[in-house]
Symmetry: C4
Subunit: 324 residues, 4 copies
């Protein structure tokens, strides 16, 4: 496993990392989380992604408990959380990035994680109803007070990220250093086009999510929806049309041949492909069983194998079905 | 009940809110306060207004005790306090906004309120004997130290608010975000004219007080001063000439017809009229009994009914008796 | 007793105040200090001056103990300390304003005073061996950390004060607000001439010391050195030539007539004369017995009596013997 | 022993000081360290140099324990530490100056040293993989949080020091004040040439290390490698080629005559020669026995004896063998 700088920052994250979305607290308990994290750690992962909204706080509780049991030195791993949706009802606690919510949220997350600070804290979505200066001040304050080390955004449009950066610059406050966008073979435009000027101008780092397009890129939906898969979960059924898209699944079929030639699975190929983009600092992967984690991490070995020829084969197969 | 942004800030306050002036500590004990606050809460109120000077600190003690009993999550409600008059005798504790007083005052209020922070803190009046930079630094420090989330002014002239804003801007300190002016059918000039450039230039928010003009707009003084009313209180007798003004009371009589047509009381009409101004973030109402609170909050239902025709009827009746 | 703003700041200090130089810890114990402070308090004094070097820290200990016994509300009085000479031997603790010394010194003073903060903290002399920016940062930090409310200088030349102010302005740090210079009928030049541009440009406030020119202006040295007087103390004998200056003592003799005409003592006249200068925020007086304090404070009644005619008489008598 | 300002800062350091590199924790225990430090203290030393990496944290533990036993007033001595190499394995803990490492490292050092703050904290080497702004913010934060008083660099190139200074200036953060370079008769270029503009532009101070060129300038390697010397240690054998350089050792032989003429040893001469450069604030010396410390400190007496003639003799002997 290699380590990359988070954008132009000095923080190093493993090129593949492990996140808790849709798993912890829903499908996984502390023991399962701990085993998966241990498997990731053994493969060289040093970044564990989280968010307040994942399982409404339970994901943080489980990760906190698991890390306590694992007892690694705090300086050796990187933990994140993210704020926007809120887990308490009310006008100042849902879908906002106002100061009141953010100041309350960070304390809640640290308590659930049993930590003094998180390494990375994200604004999980942009909030058009809070001026960017209020949000930048609040994020700056989290760092000033020692509750976080670096801050960034998730799924913000380039214009909003630029506004945050420029306000921070003007007021000499801590500027954002990373974005967490969706990025995979079928969803590329924002990372490859919209954000391009931000890499150059500010050295924006990326921690990308959904490398497998919610599982579509594993090939498991090529013959319908398997029992126990995410597509079969009631609360995930909004993903179903996308997961069962015919053209996309056919493309996945063709990718399997490429993957085989390179000595890996199509899922590993899809993960490695994300990491092949040098703007990506780390590719966040998910899993609910330790063996799955170990399988995913083998993608690291594929990254150097993605030469120009392999990339062209992949491009030819996926470009026609790439949505954005 | 709808929620509005406090000016351009991201904080959301209920369009109608509940304040403790002249009631808590004087006429009300903790039980009464708690019942009134609960009634407001049930109607959707999330902002509870207070000030150090209200009942010389007792109002804060009572609200603090009531909130403790009510046990709502801290993040769900907004509490304010205000500083200027002071409750300790002495040259640095009365009628001042100097650093010494302000730093001492915030600690006193937080102790009485049994809170770690207030959401909103106001400079209750301008202080011509303290330079605005000293006051802005002190208010900034309250926020920096986590003792308040947002700061503003109350009954400041537009020029002083602008000076505070510009000093904060120049020194990269936290700028004021709201003003608390008197605003009602009989007292309109400052909100509608003097402050107009501040909404445009700085996005100033308003939390307005005295929507009923000390009770005059309830109609209760149309036939003299009722026993038990505010006008009958010894310590409030300075309000008497205004409350018993003949022309004003006649206008109130005519407003009752408008209110009846819209399906509400004249008091509800007067409150709704304040909230009809989109520059107003919240209209602070007062009451000493829970039923009164519930009655007042019904004004929320009148707001959307105030169409152009209704507004014109109200304007024609009140413009001649509107003082300022 | 009237109260004046400390320069352009919003802090109000009594026009006459009470200091502990040469008395506390040397001639006075806690009981005597408490009684003198109580007498000053009764006369309306709200500012009690101190310094680390006074009796090598003992003056702070005694004032702290006295204030604890007096149990006045902390917000009602103003306490100062000053740093430069240091009370620990060593290259970083004597005659310096470097960061290491200052950060250590404030903690020592607060401990001796048994306080969370002092109101005023002074750089007791300029230090040519520390760059002004290092000193301004350290003084700023004392305020930022809540250990002091305002900072200033004592016996600095105008150019150094200006440099401190300009560095603070440029770096958006807390600027100095007051100077503590010697000022009396025989020592006037710095206050009246050198500092003049600073009042206009920065609103510098003054807390002046030695209104009685070490006792010379009481008239007590007109017929030699009385037993028990400061001039008779071994450690004060450096003052002797000045205290027994013939021309000066003759002038004091003539001032007694003026004082008598105004209904006061020559000491009261000398104190009142300092306070007559509107640039002076407060005149610090000293005493070792409560009756002396009460006598000194009667000078307040003389201030308004110093009309143009009286001032001319005083000027004619003292100008020829005024040293600087 | 004389004391000098650390560059343009107001901090005074003894012209000769005592460091713990290669000794504490490796060759020395707490008792030996305490005795050496006491000997240095008795000779007038007030600065004790340290670093996280020295003996992997043990050097800090030993110095902390020794200082506790010595019980000198904290304000009287100056302690340093340095960060870069890290003592925990991992991508964010070795060879980095990123925020995560630095914030963790300072807490670890303070714990090992049993102190609330260090006086001086250094970035032990430049880190090309962390932007200088991230490092400057982190160093600023250490000072802001009271964990250090001054910060600087060690073995940074002039361009990187300038970049740090300029970023701090632009963002109004604490700027670096000192560098810790190697400096001795055989290694002069960086101090004398590369850094020259930094003294003029920023008043950079120097705390120099290796005055004896790892022992070469003691003359002990003139006849081979003595048993028990540094050159004979397995972990120091990388120094061997340099220590046994023939031309250099011959030059040392000639220096002995000069030293004898001045009344000292060649080691004392070499140390005094470093201190003769007025840009040097302090020359850090090392020793493992108290008598050695005492011998080294006698170099202070040689400094004023290094007149133009003596300096020329030294120059003629060493210039040909001076490496850089």
């Amino acid at each position: 496993m290699d380590y990359r700088r988070l954008g132009r920052s000095g923080l190093k994250v493993s090129e593949l990392s492990f996140g808790s979305w849709v798993t912890y607290g829903n499908q996984m308990d502390t023991k399962a989380a701990r085993e998966c994290m241990a498997a990731a750690w053994d493969a060289g992962v040093n970044f564990f992604d989280n968010a307040e909204i994942y399982a409404n706080g339970k994901s943080e509780e489980i990760m906190g408990a698991a890390l306590k049991e694992l007892a690694w030195p705090r300086v050796k791993y990187v933990v994140s959380t993210k704020f926007f949706w809120g887990i308490t009802e009310g006008p100042n606690t849902k879908n906002t990035l106002n100061r009141k919510y953010l100041m309350d949220a960070i304390d809640g997350s640290l308590k659930r994680l049993q930590m003094d600070y998180v390494d990375l804290v994200y604004c999980h979505r942009p909030d058009p109803n809070t001026p960017v200066d209020e949000t930048v001040w609040a994020m700056h304050d989290m760092i000033e007070r020692g509750k976080a080390l670096y801050w960034g955004t998730s799924e913000w449009d380039a214009k909003s990220i630029r506004a945050a950066y420029e306000f921070a610059e003007k007021y000499r406050l801590r500027a954002p250093v990373m974005e967490q966008p969706e990025y995979n073979l079928l969803h590329r435009k924002r990372v490859e086009q919209e954000y391009a000027p931000l890499y150059k101008d500010f050295g924006l780092g990326l921690t990308t999510w959904s490398p497998l397009a919610s599982g579509l890129l594993t090939g498991k939906y090529r013959n319908g929806v398997p029992a126990g898969s995410r597509g079969a979960l009631e609360r995930m059924k909004f993903l179903l049309p996308q997961l069962t898209d015919k053209a996309a699944n056919e493309a996945v079929g063709k990718l399997e041949a490429v993957a085989k030639d390179l000595g890996g699975s199509v899922a590993q190929l899809a993960i490695a492909w994300c990491a092949r983009n040098s703007q990506v600092s780390t590719v966040i992967t998910g899993a609910s069983r330790p063996e799955q984690v170990t399988e995913n991490m083998k993608a690291a070995a594929l990254i150097p194998k993605l030469d120009a020829a392999a990339m062209k084969r992949i491009e030819d197969i996926t470009r026609p079905v790439s949505a954005a």
